[in-house]
């Protein structure tokens, strides 16, 4: 871009210290035994995500995809202003439930994540945790221009510009903000994608896991969680 100031250099040297309780330390058991604990290694499963292979028979895979397309459960995770558009969508005015699209309260019960607007770095961390906890096959829809190229937050120090650097996005819905009608059309498109077998976000995430982690860790400096939050 033209107006970039060359004189300002971002600080890339300083490391952010890990939180006290997450550093390796010693724990004394009730019987007096002293145990070395590395919380990030020992308390969490270190297994990276696996690629879910397709069925060997085409017609069976098509049946699976048909069933998946009709079972969209949205995680009630609102970021930015787009969360407001979801309220009329889930209530009688636009009523997304008639298309078989419902909202759930926890990531374990949902398979569609709608990133509804700008993501600050702080929220990105929570979004990654929530996404990784969702059961496969799972889908991500980016809502609004903020998730596409930064939108009006194009020069913000704390807001990511491209969502697909950090999470595998199946579909973008453009607009600032998109109306509930646009969301409905987007969900219909997502259903078509899934039926064609193109809703492969979770597999893409597993295949390029290292690339995604590298991008995520480049912006989240206080990485105080395991690499895969399953």
């Amino acid at each position: 871009m033209k107006d970039m100031d060359k004189s300002f250099k971002k600080d890339t040297e300083t490391e952010f210290p890990l939180r006290e309780e997450l550093r390796p330390h010693q724990v004394t058991a009730p019987d007096g035994q002293v145990i070395e604990v590395d919380p990030l290694q020992d308390y969490f499963c270190q297994e990276p995500p696996k690629v879910h292979r397709k069925s060997y028979v085409r017609i069976v895979e098509d049946f699976y995809n048909w069933a998946r397309a009709h079972s969209l459960w949205i995680l009630g995770f609102g970021t930015g202003c787009g969360a407001i558009e979801m309220r009329p969508l889930m209530t009688p005015r636009f009523d997304a439930y008639r298309y078989g699209i419902q909202w759930r309260a926890t990531p374990r019960q949902a398979n569609l994540m709608v990133i509804s607007g700008y993501l600050s770095v702080k929220t990105l961390k929570r979004a990654i945790r929530a996404y990784e906890q969702m059961p496969s096959p799972k889908y991500v829809v980016g809502l609004g221009s903020c998730t596409i190229n930064g939108g009006m937050y194009w020069d913000s120090y704390n807001t990511i510009k491209r969502l697909d650097d950090y999470l595998p996005v199946d579909l973008y819905i453009a607009g600032c903000m998109p109306r509930p009608e646009a969301l409905l059309a987007g969900f219909m498109d997502l259903k078509k994608l899934i039926r064609k077998g193109q809703g492969e976000g979770a597999n893409k995430y597993a295949e390029n896991f290292d690339w995604y982690k590298e991008n995520q860790k480049a912006v989240i400096k206080d990485w105080d969680m395991p690499d895969y939050n399953w």
Binding site: M1, D3, M4, D5, K6, S7, F8, K9, K10, D11, T14, E15, F16, V121, K122, K125, I148, N149, G150, W154, D155, S156, Y157, N158, T159, I160, K161, R162, D165, A218, V219, I220, K221, D222
Partner: protein, 177 residues
């Protein structure tokens, strides 16, 4: 009422020339930082300015100083008085007033994180407030270039265009020129 008040206070405090912004809003500079606490206490306890509306900062980069604005409100008289205090930009240490107004604690935490102005003694002032894992310059300082930072941190998607609104609308409204 405000003229009388400022006149009375000027006898004992080093106040600058007041700016009567509106009938109910007055700005005034305080030249001596060590008088801040006694002036705030007097305003709160004797003059009825019981409510701290906000505490905020302005970064005057060219003059090398921070301006702290303490905005106080007198509900009974419907008057707002904003005190402006100046800090050196190099040693940005302010006096904590969390014991006068407990809400100041939150403002001071924000100023510490966003401007790097320290308030020794204020509760939890060194904890993270909004940002997480921030290692660069405090982002509200004017020598922090937010555009350059975002360009060095987040990847652009190619194809984004920017048009100057003036020439764009001129071309759209009068295509012949």
């Amino acid at each position: 009422m405000m003229r009388d008040l400022i006149e009375r206070l000027t006898q004992r405090y080093k106040l600058g020339a007041p700016v009567f912004q509106r009938a109910d809003l007055t700005f005034v500079d305080l030249a001596a930082n060590d008088q801040l606490r006694s002036l705030l206490l007097e305003l709160r306890d004797r003059e009825g300015f019981t409510h701290l509306v906000l505490l905020t900062a302005v970064d005057w980069l060219e003059e090398g100083r921070f301006q702290l604005t303490y905005m106080l409100n007198n509900r009974d008289a419907n008057q707002t008085l904003a005190l402006r205090v100046y800090l050196d930009r190099e040693v940005a240490v302010g006096e904590t007033i969390h014991d006068i107004w407990p809400t100041a604690e939150t403002y001071q935490r924000e100023l510490r994180e966003m401007f790097g102005i320290d308030f020794p003694g204020s509760p939890r002032v060194d904890e993270e407030f909004i940002l997480e894992g921030w290692t660069d310059l405090p982002p509200y300082r004017r020598d922090f270039d937010t555009l350059a930072y975002s360009q060095q941190t987040y990847r652009d998607r190619p194809g984004r265009e920017t048009t100057d609104p003036r020439t764009h609308m001129k071309h759209k409204l009068y295509p012949e020129g």
